[in-house]
């Protein structure tokens, strides 16, 4: 029973954020995921079957594989109470007070065909009986309203190991280096000499961290894998979360801010690119041109177009005003993960599975032919691993390539010649960023260290773990 203590008292944490959390479903989600252990402890206390204790686990184990937001078999979503109550194509899944007339019971008993779970082992009788009893007793949603989370701005995450670093960004004034952590963004002094502050939020993973060009906003794209996606918009002056936009059932990727700061783009696992209005959080466009997960985005110089890269191998150019598809920027080769744009020109560099960075002009000739690759500006050398991150220096002169190879390579953007190699990482590098002056490059990845290099020589200037560790580690 002691386990319950973590979850029951005080809704401080949810209270703080509740005005920003979009839906009730979201809240249930959070609660259930945060208190996984406690419900089983709670079970012993009460006799009559309840939704949270008895019904939800059955649905979760036997039904959610198909009846979930991503597949929605028969139009039914059983990951939330609301979805369960609403039902699918055949109507509500249960009728309170009448278990015999409730679809969920009839399907599980085989009174309606096909027997559910489809093709799986039948639900044990006692579990069906528990569901029946719960429906007979009125089918109440007894999901506890309150939840608690020990992590908050006042009580930021503690770390026993360095978390994987998935995103990095220098502020436009060159003073701050923002680093992704677990449930937070850590703001460090740009030279790595100290932690300034911590921006604690909801998302476990931040797949990208981006400053608006005026430096006033810090935008993250991330979420909690297989649970929800979130775009956070932070006010850099106050360190307060201005807005949280939750979207999709999985994390979002590769967020970017339009040059005028008015729009945010991010890629999603539903194969869409979402355009969000920065000031309101309103979704402006859901662009569905890709056929697989969209992993990164970048706006054109004038903000009227956005390029997105996807596991479907394409870099697609879309119109931000209409969401319409304009062109494929590239010839399709391997899956794409990363994209970066020249600071002042509509030229992008893309990379991914094939390990070769390609530089393309965003504009395509009017008359296109199949396999036309005339807009390819440059092909860079093949890397030792899949490319996960790309950065273009603010002066437009250098391109940094990072990925599963244990080194970051820096190339001259104009000639394609190698400039420097930054070594010291043990494994995958997922984040790379130039400082505004372009003389420093910061990297981070699997080993949880941030490394700052001289971008001209590759000399390692600083190597630090961006999070406070509970126990000091030797590595």
């Amino acid at each position: 029973m002691s386990l319950m203590i973590d979850c029951l008292p005080g809704a401080k944490w949810l209270g703080i954020f509740s005005d920003r959390i979009a839906s009730t479903a979201m809240r249930v989600f959070l609660w259930t995921s945060l208190c996984l252990i406690s419900w089983s402890a709670r079970a012993a206390a009460d006799g009559s079957p309840g939704y949270f204790r008895d019904v939800r686990p059955v649905l979760q184990r036997q039904c959610q594989g198909c009846h979930q937001p991503n597949s929605l078999s028969s139009g039914l979503d059983l990951t939330t109470f609301e979805g369960f109550a609403k039902g699918g194509k055949r109507g509500p899944a249960f009728r309170a007070g009448s278990p015999a007339e409730s679809l969920v019971v009839k399907y599980m008993r085989g009174e309606m065909q096909p027997l559910m779970p489809l093709g799986g082992t039948a639900v044990p009788k006692d579990q069906i009986e528990a569901i029946s009893a719960w429906i007979a007793a009125g089918a109440k949603n007894d999901t506890p309203k309150e939840a608690t989370d020990t992590i908050s701005a006042a009580n930021p995450p503690s770390y026993s190991q360095p978390p994987v670093i998935s995103a990095l960004a220098f502020s436009p004034d060159g003073q701050t280096l923002a680093v992704s952590g677990y449930r937070e963004v850590l703001l460090h002094k740009a030279d790595g000499s100290g932690l300034i502050s911590r921006l604690v939020g909801l998302s476990e993973r931040l797949n990208s961290v981006t400053y608006s060009s005026d430096g006033k906003l810090l935008v993250t794209a991330g979420g909690t894998p297989a649970r929800f996606g979130e775009i956070q918009i932070w006010d850099t002056a106050t360190g307060k979360l201005k807005r949280s936009v939750t979207l999709t059932g999985d994390t979002v990727f590769g967020g970017s801010v339009s040059p005028d700061g008015k729009m945010i783009a991010a890629g999603a696992t539903d194969n869409s690119v979402r355009l969000i209005e920065t000031s309101t959080g309103k979704e402006l466009q859901k662009i569905g041109n890709h056929e697989n997960w969209v992993l990164s985005t970048v706006f054109g110089v004038d903000g009227k177009r956005v390029v997105s890269v996807s596991k479907d191998r394409a870099a697609k150019l879309s119109d931000t005003a209409s969401g319409g598809f304009l062109e494929n920027v590239n010839l399709l080769r391997g899956e794409l993960q990363a994209i970066a744009r020249h600071p002042s020109k509509d030229i992008v560099v893309i990379g991914g599975e094939e390990r070769i960075p390609y530089m393309y002009v965003m504009d395509r000739p009017k008359v296109m032919k199949i396999a036309d690759d005339t807009t390819l500006v440059r092909k860079f050398p093949r890397q030792d691993g899949v490319i996960a991150a790309l950065a273009w220096s603010g002066d437009g002169k250098k391109i940094a390539v990072a990925g599963l190879s244990p080194q970051v390579n820096i190339y001259d953007a104009d000639t394609g010649k190698p400039v420097a190699s930054c070594t010291g990482h043990k494994a995958g590098i997922y984040a790379v960023a130039f400082n505004p002056a372009g003389d420093r490059v910061a990297t981070g990845g699997f080993d949880g260290h941030v490394r700052i290099y001289n971008s001209a020589s590759g000399e390692l200037l600083k190597d630090f773990v961006p999070v406070p560790l509970l126990v000091s580690r030797n590595d």
Binding site: S33, Y182, G249, L295
Partner: protein
Amino acid sequence: MLRTRLLAAISFTAFSFPFAQAAEQVTFLRDVAPILNKVGCTSGPCHGAAKGKNGFKLSLRGYDPEFDYQALLYDLSGRRFNRSDPGRSLMLAKPTQEVAHGGGLRIEPGSKYYQTVFNWIAQGVPFGDPAKDKVERIEMQPPAVEMAKPGLEQQVRVVAHYLDGAVRDVTKEAVIASNIPDTADVSADAVVKGARIGEATMLVRYEGKFGTVPVTVLNPKPGFVWKALPQNNYIDQLIDAKLQRLRIQPAAAADDATFLRRVSEDLTGQLPTAEEARAFLADGTPSRLKRSRMIDTLLARKSYVDHFTLKWGDLLQNSRKYLGDKAAWEFREWIRESIASNKPYDQFVREMLTARGSTNENPATNYFRVTRDAKPTMEKTTQVFLGVRMVCTQCHDHPFERWTQNQYYEMTSFFSTVGLRPGFESGEEIVYDKRDDYDVRHPKDDRVMRPKFLVAATTVSLAPMALPDGADRRKAFAEWITSKENPFFAKSMANRMWSYFLGKGIIDPVDDIRASNPPANEALLDALTKDFKDHNYDLKHLIRTIVNSRIYQAGIETNEWNESDNTNFSHAVPRRLNAEQLMDALTQATGVRPAFPEVPADTKAEEFPDPHVGKDGFLDLFGRPQRESACECERKTDLSLPQALNLVNGRTISDAIADPAGRIAKVLIAGADDRALLQELYLATLSRTPTPTELDRGITYLRGGESRAARAQDLLWALVNSKAFLYNR
């Protein structure tokens, strides 16, 4: 303040994650990968599929742990695990169905597997040391199971031995399956249950290591008394030994007539003539000596050469489709000469594998023209001469054998230097050795694969396995493959040859030798292999040994003890004559040979150079292979409805029977009486004289109407449509 924070953090951890107790060191290699395989993550329909599942791909059945480790850790910036809060890792949330998972519940929260994965993440996801954490071998306890009767059970244990010397019981994680579940099945937790009398093999797989447990379910029926039969050679001794243990009484040797027909078809592809049959049956020499002499007579015949030339023509895919007219004839001639001179098998193979120059001058070069590219050439070479199928390893490690994808490309690179260019004459090509641009690259990472033998052979002068730069790759390969130390070369041929005479290999299919396809009688195969090597790959010796055995000469009749045995060669099994044999047998029976424009008149079907002769006709209907593959399985010897209809109604037979120059006409013109006519017909078709009943009925039929000739033709038609004629029995 700091202390309070620390305490809070520690208590949070302890409360939320009761599994994070002090745990033994967990590594991906030793602990986590086997769980992924066991719970099905890496299976073919799930993340092991060629394209993965839902954006997450693992190697099929976990054959490539490095790849799986990278996929789990590095895909999408390490999305699947959470070092800060291990219990929140996607890698645990998905299989426990805490979040929606298309693959359903795979790991129970709180179970042993859950704890292991949790601890692994909590310990920082170490990969492990391949020099320590990999499985060296697996051991099965007991190594073999014998059950006194059906219905018994036996628990089998699987023990893994690691490279660092550690030993672990992995029965729960190992995959175990029966090759014949109808005889003995096995549960997921390795309890073997005998279902019926016979033998089966349990195939065990764990982390890329394979093992087998032979299971024997004995016949509990009382009253078995072993009746010893004469033993002609070691084949009989080794098979009898096993049959006696299994309480199976073998069939005795067949009679002389049956033997003569069987051995003539098997050695020469031809029926004995009526005169031969008559003479053999009349010969008073003791049967065993008489048979042995007949075997030598047949082995010395031209038709023996034709018969085995046909077999090699199939295996080496000799066809004008690949080689053109001239070369197809010349390649056939080269094979013929090799068989006629009883060229030692190793020399035969070596000459082909090292052949270079003009296809007109050195017909053995045609070996490389059929497959042309290094990869199919390697696949063909290993399948035909080693009985090893490498084809699945082109894309992934072999699922049921130890062969790896690396080995596929290492072996391929022995043939990548072979070049083909047009010669001076029409249809001529020159096989040469390339001097550059012959590197074979691994498809995954593009690295150059050096030639390396599949298994080491210590006496090969080029040991160790990898070749030095500039060495003649094909010469080295030929030396390796034909070495007496090669564990597959002689064995594969001994096994293949056995299948030609007994209907199936000791290992079957003959060209799929692997740990999970065990021999029906290992001692026998070993003895044949050793004998073949001891006689310097003398093919005629191998054949002579097999056909002189009592086992080969056994009858097809069964007794109460061997009637259910189909694996231990306790009785002969009727085999349908193959297409060419059947056409030649019809010629022999009717006395009329069908004509084909591509070959000289009076050419036997067995002598045809390739399947273009008589294409789409009788021969193809009866399963002649088109020589599209080097697999023995391309030749079909089943009996189908179209074939039966052709036999009953087809013109090949009816025309031949009624031919004015045919056997019936000749016998009638010679003035044979009814008895002589019937004897002639029986000897010409079934290689035996008619029984008194058959004689009576035949005479009654011949005298029952007006046209004696037409009635004689009817009788011949009935004989060639009988199973006794269509089958070699």
